[in-house]
Symmetry: C2
Subunit: 201 residues, 2 copies
C-alpha cells in the first residue's frame, strides 16, 4: 500500500532530478533570458530545493554549461530524427531547409542564443560551448548531405550549408525581437531558390 513510485533506484532519482533542473534552466532562459535567470527561480520551477541543485551542480556556471549540452543534444536529436521523414524528389531541399529553420528558430535555439551571447563575455561558458557547437555543426552537415544527395560536391555543399545556417541564425535573431514573420518566410523562400541554383539542382 505504499505510494506507487517506491524504491526508485539512486540512479533513477538522480537522472530524474537532473533532468528537472536542466529543463527548468532552459525554460528560464527562454522566458526570462540569461540576465534574469537565477538559481532560485530554476529550483522553484523544478520543484526542488537549492540543496538538491547544489548536490548535482555545484555552481551556477556548472548548471548552465550542463544545460547547454543538454540543449544541444536535444537539438541534434531533433534534427536527425526529422531527416527520416523528408520526402524524396525536388521538394526534398525545400523541406530540408524549412526543417532546419524550424530547428534553429524554435525554443531550444532561443535558449541556445541566450547562452551563446552570454558566452562571449564568459570564458568558462565559452569553453564548454565551442566543442558542443562544433559537434552540432557536424551533425547538421551530415543532415544536409542527406538532403542534397551524394551527387553534390562536398566543399560546395559545406559552403551552402554554412551560408544557410548563418542566414537562419540571423533570421532567428530577427524573430526574437518580433520582426515580421511573413517577411522571414518570403526571405527563406527566396533563399531556397538561390541554394537550389547554387548546388545545381
Amino acid at each position: 500500500m505504499a505510494s506507487p513510485v517506491r524504491h526508485r533506484t539512486q540512479a533513477e532519482r538522480s537522472e530524474r532530478t537532473r533532468e528537472l533542473l536542466l529543463d527548468a534552466t532552459i525554460s528560464c532562459l527562454v522566458e526570462l533570458g540569461y540576465a534574469r535567470t537565477t538559481v532560485h527561480e530554476i529550483c522553484r520551477r523544478a520543484g526542488l530545493s537549492r540543496g538538491a541543485q547544489q548536490h548535482h551542480f555545484t555552481t551556477k556556471a556548472e548548471l548552465m554549461t550542463s544545460a547547454l549540452e543538454h540543449l544541444f543534444r536535444r537539438l541534434g536529436e531533433e534534427i536527425m530524427t526529422a531527416t527520416a521523414n523528408l520526402p524524396p524528389g525536388p521538394e526534398r531541399l525545400d523541406e530540408g531547409i524549412g526543417l532546419l529553420w524550424r530547428a534553429y528558430s524554435g525554443t531550444l535555439s532561443t535558449a541556445a542564443v541566450e547562452l551563446w551571447v552570454a558566452a562571449r563575455t564568459d570564458a568558462e561558458l565559452r569553453r564548454s560551448l565551442l566543442p558542443v557547437d562544433r559537434e552540432l555543426g557536424h551533425l547538421t552537415l551530415e543532415f544536409y548531405r542527406r538532403i542534397a544527395g551524394p551527387s553534390v560536391d562536398e566543399a560546395r555543399l559545406q559552403t551552402m550549408l554554412l551560408l544557410t545556417v548563418n542566414l537562419i541564425r540571423g533570421l532567428a535573431l530577427d524573430a526574437m525581437i518580433g520582426g515580421d514573420s511573413a517577411r522571414r518566410t518570403a526571405l527563406l523562400a527566396e533563399w531556397k531558390t538561390l541554394v537550389a541554383a547554387g548546388i545545381g539542382m
Copy 2:
C-alpha cells in the same frame, strides 16, 4: 587665472555628461555583456557619480534605452558616411557588402546584439528598440540602393538587402563566440557572387 574650462553652459555640461555615460554604457556592454553591466561600473568608467547618472537617466532601463538610440544613431552615421567613399564599377557591390559587414560586426554592433537579445525578454527595451531598428533598416536600404544603382528592381533589391543583413547578423553571432574568421571571409565572398547573380550584375 581660472582653470581653462570655465563657464561651460549648462547645456554643454549636460550633453558632455550624457555622452560620457552613454559611451561608458556601450563599452560595458561590449566588454562585460548585458548581464554583468551595472550602473556602478558605468559610472566608474564615465568618471562620474551615481548622482550624476540618476540626474540624467532616472532608472537603469532608461540609461539602456538611451544608449541604444545613441548606438544606432552612430551606426547609421557610420554607414552613411562610408557610402561616399565607395568606388564605381564592378567592385562597388563587393566593397559595399564588405562595408556593411564591417559596420554590422564591429564593436557598435556587438553592443547592439547584447541589447537586442536582452530586449527579447524586456518589454520596455523592446519597445524602444523596434522603431530605432526600423529607422536603421531604412538607412541601410538607402545605402544599398546607392551601391546597386537605379537599374535594379526595387523589390528585388530589398529582398537581397534583407538576406544580406540577416546573413551578416548570423555571421556576427559566429564571430562573437570566436568562430573561424577565415571561414567567414570565404562565406562572405561566396555570398557576394550570389548577390551579383541575384540582382543581375
